[in-house]
Symmetry: C2
Subunit: 97 residues, 2 copies
């Protein structure tokens, strides 16, 4: 849990929004072959209007910061919030600020 890395990751509104969407996948991501509790398929995030490569880069940034975890299933990669890291970060930032 690197606070600076996480704050950098959160410094782009789209990445914050992605994390927020992942709190309630069923509310924000409708049609997906696999059950949503496996995670959300990467391509689903293109609904934000950015290109596939840009979305991929944002997801990679979130993963490097430890805010999401990924799981490959066949040709798909599913993204989930990393609740543990997120909780640790919120605790840390709450004590620091």
């Amino acid at each position: 849990m690197d606070r600076d890395d996480i704050l950098k990751a959160l410094s782009h509104p789209m990445r914050v929004e992605i994390l927020s969407w992942l709190k309630e996948p069923e509310a924000h991501f409708k049609s997906q072959e696999h059950p949503l509790d496996m995670g959300v398929c990467a391509s689903q995030f293109e609904r934000c209007g950015l290109s596939q490569s840009t979305v991929s880069a944002h997801l990679a940034t979130l993963q490097r910061a430890g805010l999401v975890t990924t799981r490959r299933v066949g040709q798909w990669i599913f993204y989930k919030r990393n609740e543990e890291t997120i909780r640790a970060f919120l605790k840390d930032i709450g004590e620091t600020l």
Copy 2:
């Protein structure tokens, strides 16, 4: 209270550290003519090793985000945490993430 602006302001470690220092001014800023509860004099922050102009820019960023307030007294400008905004931000980010 603009969450995106605040997150951008917090995306530089030095600015987070400045806010942290301001939690306990007496612990981090020793000799100052005026009482520390007026705020901390801008020049005090140069102890971080950055140049005067760079420190000034960081302080301006924090102020634009509403994280600190300033008060001019004579030729000095005193910086204080804006506890209200900080609290509001922590509440907001805790609910968003």
